[in-house]
């Protein structure tokens, strides 16, 4: 083994990763090659370097052979860099005197030819050895964390997480963009599979949120800006003007009665347009906060600047303020939970189903309102003309499992369609035809619920509906909506005339998912569902420390799963607060005061505002707590005065040398 005196003693470990690496890369040859590289004192290969015995090899060699630097050639650093750094530390070596060469993802898995794979592995190891020889011991900084949490989205996910954290004694800011919390669940009458009343289980939680001393509910608000990092976020929240002072309004509704519009005239958002409201309104009786809101798009004073403003007069508490402006609030938080939920698919995108063309084609969400006892029809299922339907078709998978709309299964539609079939039958006595592709009922008590519906006599037809028309081919079809599908279990195509059609629309990401994602620096799948750090092992964590996701914003799911995730996210946030500190990577930039000319170029470049100028000394100074190690300033400095730990010029050049000397 060659060794020049100036070189630190280096150990190289080549991992087989079972057969993952070994079947493409000749690990013995690579190890022999590594042993001859300058500075290498020990070179070994082993089946699984990440296993306990693998890690012990490193620790032992550090102690016994006096290794000063370590290289592991294995998988992606994303997976095991932390593991091996810990192993180095356990052996008594500074964890930053370590370098990883990725010969699995970057070599074995992507190189078909064994010879070339072996050569490439050698080149990457040579580079890592050269680089690590210049590595410097570094220390991680610890920063204290705060104890408050911001939760974005006040659906059942946000509500459950907020209550969990608040009950643990920590302060929560719950930010909801609508005038009321509750999300989708607040619109339902019953919930599957138990058919328990949604309001009975949700409204108590909503009022607990309002009354909890540790929760500050910020409704009709949105997060505008997020700064800082795990443990120490600074979050700017914009409160939209509701033209009502929240703390003064008691929700008595005098103003609504007094409004110059004698009758409700505008479609109610909460009732999916099935009922009307005035410009000043309460979204629904149990709205939380129980405060009215004035819609700037329909209020005469706010649109035309001309109105008698009867509402202002009527409010004895003087709560109405038509001059209210948006307000910005800045809060500090240790952790963030994003729980922004989903949106339902708009079936206008499938004109063959006639939504918008035929009055009696409804979406499932509209029918949820219709069957709701406190909804626009008082729980009655009725047609546009007020009559009761005698036959109703429910169409599953509208906007799901379809290449042209959404390829995914929305997971809850089979179950909620069963629920609606039951409720429609119960409320109207109509014959119900349920058209499904596959009946998906995987959940506790779900298959039993399906069984119950079979027994109730719902007509289940296995077949996807191709079109719904008012094209009457027979007398019996006249005046009806005709649903065409193949009864695929029988093998014939059928035309079924009905009075009403319910489209079981799928779940899709919120339209602003990309913007929200950017704000919180988290990732999205291509479709717009927020990405968990690991689909199995870290389902509520994100790639940004300190930010968690919960509920349907991560993917379609039902209430039980949503609540489970919300609980998980809450406890992970609490764990961070409880730990009390975060460690930050020492990959920060540093200014050499000797070389700095004080030109201030870097100040404007830093996206994190981490650099300031020491006026006394006339040089730039980096705040390590804010620096993210992006390297912008390093590249920008005209005097070459800034370097970045873990990425010094010396290290990079040496690494290049390693690769090039091999080629």
């Amino acid at each position: 083994m060659s060794q020049s005196p100036a070189c630190p003693r280096i150990g190289v470990y080549v991992c087989h990763c079972g057969m993952n690496i070994a079947k493409q890369v000749a690990v013995e040859a690579v190890t022999e090659f590594a042993a001859r590289l300058p500075g290498v004192a020990v070179a070994r290969h082993y089946k699984f370097m990440c296993s306990d015995p693998g890690q012990e090899l490193i620790q032992q060699d550090i102690k016994e052979s006096g290794l000063e630097r370590v290289v592991v050639a294995s998988c992606s650093p994303l997976l095991h860099e932390a593991t091996f750094r810990k192993a180095c530390a356990a052996g008594g070596l500074n964890p930053f005197c370590f370098q990883m060469a990725n010969i699995r993802e970057q070599v074995a898995w992507v190189t078909a030819d064994k010879g070339r794979a072996t050569s490439k592995a050698k080149a990457l190891i040579a580079a890592a050895v050269e680089r690590v020889s210049r590595a410097q011991p570094l220390e991680r900084k610890r920063l204290a964390v705060g104890d408050k949490v911001v939760i974005v989205g006040g659906g059942i996910a946000g509500i459950h997480a907020a209550l969990t954290i608040a009950d643990a004694g920590k302060k929560v800011y719950l930010v909801e963009r609508e005038p009321t919390i509750g999300g989708h669940m607040a619109k339902f009458d019953k919930t599957f599979p138990t058919l328990d009343c949604a309001a009975c289980i949700l409204t108590p939680k909503m009022s607990s949120v309002k009354n909890h001393p540790n929760i500050e509910l910020m409704s009709y608000s949105e997060v505008e800006k997020v700064e800082g990092f795990a443990g120490n976020f600074k979050i700017t929240i914009q409160k939209k003007p509701r033209y009502v002072h929240e703390e003064l309004c008691v929700g008595c509704g005098e103003c609504v009665d007094a409004c110059v519009f004698p009758k409700a005239k505008f479609p109610s958002e909460f009732d999916e347009g099935l009922a009307l409201r005035k410009p000043v309104y309460m979204p629904f009786p149990q709205a939380t906060p129980a405060v009215v809101v004035i819609d700037p798009n329909t209020c005469l004073q706010l649109t035309k600047g001309k109105c008698k403003q009867k509402c202002v007069e009527a409010c004895q508490r003087g709560a109405i303020d038509l001059k209210q402006e948006p307000e910005q609030v800045e809060v500090e938080a240790a952790a963030v939970i994003v729980a922004t939920g989903f949106k339902t698919f708009d079936p206008r995108g499938l004109p063959q189903y006639g939504y918008g063309r035929y009055g009696n084609v409804y979406t499932s969400l509209e029918v949820e309102r219709m069957v709701n006892a406190s909804g626009p029809t008082g729980g009655e299922v009725v047609l546009k003309d007020g009559a009761k339907p005698r036959s109703v078709a429910i169409i599953h998978c509208v906007g799901s499992r379809d290449k042209k709309t959404h390829p995914w299964c929305s997971r809850v539609c089979c179950m909620y369609s069963l629920k609606l079939a039951h409720l429609v039958k119960e409320r109207s006595g109509a014959d119900v035809f349920s058209f499904y592709i596959d009946m998906r009922t995987p959940g506790k008590g779900y298959e039993e619920f399906y069984d119950r519906l079979l027994e109730e006599g719902v007509h289940f037809i296995r077949g996807r509906v191709s079109h719904i028309t008012d094209w009457a081919m027979t007398k019996a079809e006249e005046g009806k909506l005709v649903v065409s599908a193949e009864d695929s279990l029988i093998g014939v195509t059928r035309r079924i005339p009905v009075d009403m059609v319910i489209l079981s629309v799928g779940l899709e990401p919120q339209p602003d998912a990309q913007e929200v994602r950017k704000k919180f620096n988290i990732s999205c799948s291509q479709e717009g569902w927020f990405l968990e750090r690991h689909p199995k092992l870290a389902p509520v964590a994100t790639f940004t420390d300190g930010v968690w996701i919960a509920g349907a914003c991560q993917g379609p799911k039902d209430i039980p799963d949503t609540v489970a995730q919300a609980g998980a996210a809450a406890s992970e946030a609490l764990a961070l607060i409880d730990k009390g500190y975060v460690e930050i990577e020492p990959n920060t930039a540093e200014v050499d005061p000797e070389a700095c000319s004080g030109c201030k170029t870097c100040l404007g470049m830093c996206p994190y505002h981490a650099i300031r100028r020491d006026e006394e000394k006339g040089v730039a100074v980096v705040n390590e707590a804010l620096c993210k190690g992006c390297g912008t300033c390093v590249a920008a400095c005209p005097s070459g005065a800034i370097s970045q730990h873990m990425f010094t010029d010396d290290e990079i050049y040496q690494e290049l040398e390693g690769i090039l000397s091999y080629v």
Binding site: P351, Q352, R357, D470, W471, A472, M473
Partner: protein, 297 residues
């Protein structure tokens, strides 16, 4: 930009009225269409069933010929027959999407000294009228608005799917917009893109005629004066079997079925013969208001 016209076989026989009215309307709009010289049969639906590659080659020859007229610029090839339109589009698309097909066609073309580079834009007259001529110019050319006339626009299958991009495959509106610009009322009905039975009316009558009958039945139920079509086969099926249909389904079927170009021509005041009206089995039914002012020869 050049607009070449590809008639296809039907427009020279059963669909002659389509050709006559189409050319007359475009001439009135001062939008010249030149017939592609030396064109051959497109390959059509029937051919696909025997030898797909030969069908593609037949279509590709037309595309290659059209391309030669562009002098390096893209050429527009206007194909009024739905089947031709589809086969030409399909050939263009599959040549790119399926490499072996693209190669086979190119080799065959090369053997006779032809080459196709994909520079032809295949257009349906509806597309050209809406997107190139524009409703403004059409409105300006209307001298006899079709007031009081109620029409059901029937697009059929292959004009709007699966390859066309100028209109919605489920709920197309181009013909409706066009005829509304001519002053007519068009109905929203569910048969716009439902199949007329295609060549089954000739091969397996009971299957084909039932399709056409159901469509006519619905048109009658909606009380329209005429059904407007954009395809020679649709027009033939819907118009020429009304007698047999009436007997087969014991229902008096009587409905005018005309090419949309004939109806547009009417609104422009073109005379009956120019529009090939005399070739219809059932004269175009017109509301009394329009009859009074008609300039028949």
């Amino acid at each position: 930009m050049r607009f070449l016209y590809y008639p296809g076989c039907s427009l020279k026989s059963s669909g002659r009225a389509y050709e006559e009215s189409l050319l007359a309307v475009f001439a009135r709009l001062q939008f010249p269409l030149e017939e592609l010289p030396e064109w051959n049969c497109c390959g059509a639906t029937a051919y696909m069933g025997i030898d797909e590659k030969k069908a593609f080659v037949l279509a590709a020859r037309n595309l290659a010929l059209a391309e030669q007229h562009g002098d390096g610029q893209p050429v527009h090839l206007v194909a009024p027959c739905a089947a031709c339109y589809l086969v030409l589009l399909k050939t263009q698309k599959y040549m790119v999407e399926y490499k072996p097909i693209g190669r086979a066609i190119s080799d065959a073309l090369k053997s006779v000294g032809l080459k196709y580079r994909g520079q032809v834009k295949i257009r349906h007259p509806l597309d050209v009228l809406i997107k190139e001529v524009g409703l403004e110019r059409i409105r300006a050319a209307v001298s006899r608005p079709l007031e009081g006339m109620k029409i059901a626009c029937y697009y059929g299958c292959q004009v709007v799917r699966p390859f066309a991009e100028f209109d919605d495959p489920h709920d197309p509106m181009s013909m409706d917009d066009l005829l509304r610009a001519c002053g007519a009322e068009t109905v929203d009905w569910p048969c716009k893109v439902r199949c007329c039975g295609a060549m089954l009316t000739g091969t397996v009558e009971e299957v084909g005629q039932r399709r056409s009958y159901m469509i006519l039945h619905e048109a009658m139920r909606r009380g329209v004066d005429a059904v407007a079509t954009a395809c020679p086969l649709c027009q033939f099926n819907l118009e020429c079997f009304q007698g047999p249909m009436s007997r087969r389904y014991r229902d008096q079927v009587e409905m005018s079925v005309a090419y949309f170009t004939q109806i547009v021509g009417k609104a422009m005041g073109l005379d009956e013969r120019t529009l090939g009206m005399h070739r219809l089995f059932i004269p175009l039914r017109q509301p009394p208001a329009l009859l009074g002012t008609s300039h028949d020869c």
